[in-house]
Subunit: 396 residues, 3 copies
């Protein structure tokens, strides 16, 4: 889309609610606010492609806190911060004194004296990650009001136990670009399905994020998983309500075939049963290693019953013209490549490699757009200004 057109559209959207505010869950935001993020993401890509600097910070820090290993999200966050002029400072809990009796309230303030953004990935324990992020945000707000912090750093959820907004918004923007805009999602069948993986305990934030976001665009979302692999009840209810309001639908099925049948988009990936993750969280809290090991064995054994839940060539044939858009948040468990039997056939994965990598390329821009809208009051005017400023990012 044309840069001028993006700015024109953006100027019509309400962005005050995003300014100086946090991003926890997509459903905290209106559809128009989400569109503003998408527009800014596209605008920043256009600026970068035109070799124009997107820096709005001369100096400043983007704090990152990753409680789980990460390549993609870590690099996406670092890229987004760098694009805007912020330096990433990692809060490595092993190198810090957090074990030394320090409270979340204290850490939140101590890292924020010169912090503009805080990105947190905390998806391991059910009922913990989102709460932790809310607490950090509340404490820095309090610190700002008490005059401890000169600026109030805003928070970006880089994945929690409930939602994975930067992932699912990048995925969705990719779908929109593929089909021709948000409007094009109306009536499209999207299959968010469980798939077999030889590992266990993969986060629920992607399927939950999909249910929480895709149901808002009038799509027919089919959520498929073997019995027992339920997602969070609240998110499911929300999805149903949203689907109804948007003129779409949300169907739950226990047949992968049913979900794939005539689907326009398929998103097959492994996740752990919500109930099992709750149990694991409890066992970790009790330090019950024996219980944890037993749970793992039980889950792996249960997973193995559903090896036929895989995105095979045969399964792909059932989709719309056999050519549904295949999505994955990566890395995927590819049969015969990264494991004996996994989420997807190697030939399917290979055929979709380019669109899959493009899908991933939206994440740094989505994160940059979230931060941009948290930090800039009149985003359309600022984008125009950046375009006119025409400061080369790379002086070739």
């Amino acid at each position: 889309m044309d840069f001028k057109e993006i700015c024109r559209r953006l100027s019509q959207l309400p962005t005050e609610g995003l300014y100086q505010n946090d991003f926890f869950l997509t459903w905290d935001k209106s559809l128009e606010e989400l569109e503003a993020i998408d527009q800014v993401a596209d605008a920043m890509r256009a600026l970068r492609e035109a070799n124009k600097s997107c820096r709005i910070f001369d100096s400043g820090l983007g704090i990152s806190l990753f409680r789980d290993n990460s390549t993609r999200t870590r690099f996406s966050y670092a890229s987004a911060c760098n694009l805007l002029g912020l330096e990433v400072q990692d809060l490595d809990e092993k190198k810090s004194q957090l074990s030394h009796g320090e409270t979340v309230r204290e850490t939140a303030n101590m890292i924020s004296f010169m912090a503009d953004v805080i990105g947190i990935r905390d998806d391991m324990y059910i009922g913990k990650g989102h709460t932790y992020q809310k607490n950090v945000a509340a404490y820095v707000q309090e610190g700002y009001e008490d005059g401890i912090l000169e600026q109030r750093p805003t928070l970006v959820n880089l994945q929690c136990d409930i939602d994975h907004p930067t992932q699912i918004m990048a995925d969705t923007l990719h779908v929109m670009h593929t089909f021709g805009g948000a409007e094009a999602l109306k009536g499209k069948k999207i299959a968010m399905t469980w798939a077999y993986s030889p590992s266990y305990g993969k986060p629920l934030s992607v399927p939950q994020g999909a249910v929480g976001l895709l149901t808002r665009y009038g799509a027919d979302v089919s959520l498929a998983y073997p019995e027992g692999y339920d997602i969070m009840e609240d998110v499911l209810e929300l999805g149903k309500k949203q689907a109804k309001a948007s003129g779409g639908s949300l169907t739950v099925t226990h047949s992968m075939e049913e979900a794939f049948a005539d689907a326009d988009v398929v998103y097959p990936k492994s996740w752990a049963p919500f109930a099992a993750m709750e149990e694991r969280t409890e066992l970790y809290a009790q330090g019950d290693q024996k219980g944890i090991d037993e749970l793992e064995q039980r889950l792996l054994a249960n997973n193995a019953k559903f090896k036929n839940w895989t995105c095979s060539e045969e399964m792909m044939k059932k989709t719309k013209d056999g050519k549904a858009l295949y999505l994955h948040c990566l890395p995927a468990d590819i049969s015969g490549v990264s494991c004996a039997e996994g989420e997807v056939d190697a030939s399917v994965f290979d055929r979709y490699r380019v669109p899959l990598y493009k899908q991933a390329s939206f994440k740094p821009y989505i994160i940059a757009a979230m931060i941009f809208l948290q930090k800039v009051k009149d985003p359309a005017a600022k984008l125009e200004e950046l375009w006119q400023r025409d400061l080369p990012r790379w002086s070739k």
Copy 2:
């Protein structure tokens, strides 16, 4: 204070001795030099609050070397470097080849080809940290004179076995702001007291730093600890001499009550006996793990005799109007919060949380000011220039 007023005052202070020089110990510097650091710290905060960039480096590196875990000091140093335009590059001894027979002289040169500042935290072993810092400084000076280094990186002591200058200067600046300037410290009673903690072996650099700095402002410093918990003899002697010269006093007592009585400021925190730390250093040098374990048990048992050395509500009532300013370098061992019995009652800590966090907020500015004065020849003129330049830090 008014920005112009700060610059005017700063222009009257002698800063040549700070320029291109290192910062090891507060008592290496004159009172006027320390005031210059305080003034610049306040000026940089004013610049930042006015959204004016403080960058004096277009590019450059701030090396950090932490030989102990750290959140606050690490983030303070990173914030200070970023504020001035330097990128932090961490010398992680585990990822380096330091074990590979490399000498301090060699490392000091190898990391300094493009380094503007080196910040070192090395507080673990008595007689080691300060010496190590001095050696690094001497080697980069030599490297500069030999034409190996194009610029001579300056050193900032981020904590050593003797002093913790960035901490105690931040603490003191907080006290000055609370009471109305350096002059207001004259005649104030400041209780630097030991307090019980269930951990052992906490560094002596804070009490020593307090004795080494606060005695210079005409305050009545009361150093209190249970018998046996002596600090470094040299620092104590220095403190006595300085107190006399400044018209204040330094009293050693073995009664917390006595120290708290009518105190204007209290700084109760745990530390290890100097003699025990010397012993531990020796045991580590010999690799005597059994001896180290026995020493730990002995120290913990001894600590436990003094659980009544705690900053309780009762103890606070003994202070001036029951309202002394409570200080801590954080994190504190809070009774019933981070441990069963610790340095301070939860209710006392909670009441002082906002001033405590403000106290901590001075540290990044103190570090930035130290670096600024090491790097800028005419600091008053440069600050005026930064104010006039009016380059937005954050382009909102």
Copy 3:
């Protein structure tokens, strides 16, 4: 040399082949291309010494991937990136999801959405490091062509199993500066010799790099090692061919004395036999820990037979006027300092400490020059522009 003179000379050299291209091995490049890198390295040092900013990036990322511990190369790369305006983002394989079934192709793309340069050190396993780097480069090229990546990050070899170009080019530039230019190497005798070290398994990339580069300048290169400590056959053959073409020579000898006799330059350092490294690579691939341990013992025992291969004072006396230029990539195993018996006598090392550290100081500039020439189309004009721009790096 005069800055204008450097730019004039540079404008006569062919640099199109370096632009937007990778740097794997010195022998991939023409002598004139290598001279261009040397000229730019000198120019950037001149700019920095004149306190002129070398930034050509307003924002951007320099990815680093170190598969082995490193101080010098890590800091050199970070310094070079910072000098040009790039922020280093480390791909720490322990913190990433690389074990999680992710392919090299995927990682290469995922880290490159906003990457301008990728620096890789991967020297541990024979037949792996170079191949890995080639693969990464091929995958990002493919990603660029497929429209996944907006820019194609260029690759800098920070050491592989075959060559160590940034090291050997820095070493060679140091030799050129010492003797008065590239021309002065003609007819000089350079002894690249094995030396005893109590450790085993040191990389072959330095001696191979020396053979691959120094033979191109008309020097008489004497490669000396105890029988069995052969380097890669291909590199040796290449060296012979190059020596012949350049009017120099490459002699292999199994006598350190012979190599040192009348040498102008000596580079004594330990390395492992190529065949043993191949064997080790195989054992690692099979996960045969017992075999690895046995190999280590065997290699250490074999090394110990050649303790007399050391750069002693006596040995130095055999060189030209007893004053050959002593080189080492550091850290060296210094007899009586970092080990009982090692590569070099303490008195020899001490006498050459200043030139040795200067030798090391060329590495950040060589890396910066490689990146500069990968990123700038008309380097002579850009250097002139940077000089004229006269933007202070450090606003004193």
